[in-house]
Subunit: 419 residues, 2 copies
């Protein structure tokens, strides 16, 4: 399979042979993929697995429907956020008891940024990159506005980040994989630079968790958040997760003192006292249907070697880019992600002046990627169900969209659509 | 039906006749109630409706499964929080565009308390009652701790609340119905007392929305939150809602600057700018499976006159208390809710020294209520599916539990269970 990374096979048959030898080939059967779709949008919404389909029915119809309120005990709903957290922990290089599922990525980021500010009370700066995922920047702005007292979000250009970490920086927040360019950041190096200045880092793993072997523990990361609905295939708006390294747990505290994060949630004490451990980063009642869908979606990762996953993801990305260069030369496409697979997350990004229309034309032809302003075509690589031949077919259709100038169809003019 | 409020029929047959004449009788068919259960816990987790069961399958299997990311447009997932908000608005006396569904009740309370503090920047007190729902107090404590600068939560005894509203109170927060005693607060009177002192009020409608005709607009309420999983039957951990009166919307701002609350969520602008209207109180990506379950659960309210609902709820409560007095005299039970139906929410509360064991014994015998520390037995009244004969049967079983001293069974000793 790694052959694809060094020399692209020139025939579909050669790629089919790679697929036959793929150690992850069997995983595809776990997904309820619709016919006739090449789905390269797992980094926006992962597809349904058969396990999630069954589990949602079970939890809705038998647990909620039949066992009602008793399900919190009988089906142990109450511990599901911690149990699913432990399953995710294994996939992001964390230990059991360091991850809990709760709320949305945005809300969790707020919790951790606030916790970090409280751990560095003499510092006032939250540092990030201007190109970071917008909602992450917004949440930091909101926290700074709420705190007042000189707390601010400082945004710098990507290249300037580590140099900008100074003695006033309480916390750096950064996406592990850039949502547009797909660039993979060096978690250990950024962490070292922050630690050298006494600052903490909150990682957003939205575009890396479930797609590559994130190594929070090995790289010394203290704090991270991530989402359940992308590479973890947990369903639309699946709950997100929070990671706090064990060594910080006793001192780190969520500012959202919800009942489920209380030491004794059912004692109904008048005063808040945070639970021991990661449980304190829970807040309100968890969305059980969504959480169960996520739990079941993680089944497909059981027994998977994340190194295999990463190897195939890099191979699919190299193949995609090789084929684009080979098949779509002179069509105005530009590669917008790192060419070096080791520096790239699990997506390829291209640029084109008519990017929005090209993406719409592709979707109409069964190749589902997505568009990011102003001109980025984004294709998520999801080695659990994608085949090498899918990449071949997708690029063939991309070439056809250009050859037929299908993207000039006025139907593909930009509207206020969800992109 | 209202006859029950003044003189309790002495036979089950007379109650069955009331059920036959009940204008809400047909609603019961909308629910997928398990056989052999008398479910008096709709105020902790409402039961599954057939509509929610069908809708969860549809959204999971056909929308997510088949249409994948395109569902945000094709099935208009993106506007679901506002659409479901508008449906809830009608049920709580709000106008369209004043309610949005998002996050949990706790998180929404945090948003509104922070918004209220920002609207009264010269004031530093959040005022509540010590007997308010603990998570509401915790969230207020968390916000005060995060803000610092002298912001504090002040808790007073229930009777002292209005007198305690002074010129330093930015916001009062209160449950519309007390979770233990079931006491219904006078929303208009508290609102007037607050306004007289220039303070705002954030109402928690968790135990009133869907159970009685909440009249936010008519009582001049500015801010409220509520949950989807109790009387709205939206499923375990269903998303919650936020109400902001239109006249405050332009100035009120959530401190959780999530992308979905942005004026242009898909423009990926670097700076946060809140959406016009109630949409700004959204934060991250909404949990679509859970939100769809809630949306479908609201179908049962279509065409319902909330005055009928309230009338029947009061009648069921009066009947429950009459029967307890009649059947369970001398058994150590004490009525812990207002005897006057107009001052009571949609629940009855009793006290008993062995309350926990009594509730467990009832559950074992098919009567599902719940227990609240230290000694409260709580029975939710849900007129959409409960019958007068259900109350008769429940009290008969309660009597039997006392007569046989079933609660002394050591199996019912208190453990760390979810109660």
């Amino acid at each position: 399979m790694t052959a694809a990374a060094t020399s692209t096979p020139r025939t579909r048959e050669a790629l089919a042979e790679l697929d036959r030898r793929d150690p992850l080939a069997g995983c595809r059967d776990a997904f309820a993929l619709p016919e006739g779709i090449l789905y390269f949008d797992g980094n926006s919404l992962g597809p349904l697995t058969h396990a999630s389909r069954r589990r949602v029915r079970e939890v809705t119809e038998r647990q909620w429907g039949r066992d009602l309120i008793g399900s919190w005990n009988v089906h142990d709903w109450i511990h599901l956020p911690l149990k699913v957290g432990d399953r995710i922990a294994r996939l992001i290089g964390a230990a059991a008891g360091e991850v809990v599922v709760a709320d949305s990525t945005s809300v969790n980021l707020f919790k951790l940024l606030a916790a970090a500010l409280a751990l560095r009370p003499e510092r006032r700066t939250i540092l990030s990159e201007a190109s970071n995922f917008p909602t992450d920047l917004y949440m930091a702005q909101g926290l700074a506005d709420l705190k007042g007292a000189g707390v601010r979000l400082r945004q710098v250009a990507p290249g300037d980040l580590t140099a900008a970490i100074d003695a006033d920086v309480a916390v750096v927040t950064l996406s592990h994989v850039d949502f547009k360019t797909g660039e993979l950041r060096d978690m250990a190096a950024v962490g070292r630079a922050a630690r050298d200045q006494g600052a903490l880092v909150v990682w957003d793993l939205a575009h890396s968790a479930g797609a590559l072997a994130v190594d929070l523990g090995g790289s010394g990361a203290e704090l991270a958040v991530g989402c359940g609905y992308k590479f973890f295939n947990g369903g639309p708006g699946a709950p997100a997760f929070v990671y706090v390294a064990r060594r910080l747990q006793e001192r780190a505290r969520s500012p959202l003192y919800g009942w489920l994060g209380h030491r004794e949630p059912f004692a109904f004490e008048a005063c808040y006292a945070p639970a021991e451990g990661i449980g304190r980063f829970q807040c309100g009642t968890p969305p059980i249907l969504a959480l169960a869908a996520l739990d079941a979606a993680l089944d497909v990762f059981d027994g998977i070697d994340l190194a295999d996953l990463r190897r195939k993801s890099v191979a699919l990305g190299d193949l995609f880019l090789d084929l684009v260069e080979q098949e779509c030369a002179g069509m105005g496409l530009e590669i917008a992600c790192p060419r070096d697979g080791e520096r790239r997350g699990s997506q390829v990004s291209l640029r084109h002046r008519r990017g929005y229309a090209v993406v719409q034309a592709l979707i109409d032809r069964g190749v589902v990627g997505d568009f990011r302003v102003p001109d980025v075509l984004r294709f998520g690589l999801t080695p659990l169900y994608q085949r090498h031949v899918d990449v071949w077919d997708a690029v063939a259709i991309l070439r056809q969209v250009f050859e037929t100038r299908a993207f000039e169809d006025p139907r593909y003019d930009r509207r206020g659509a969800v992109t």
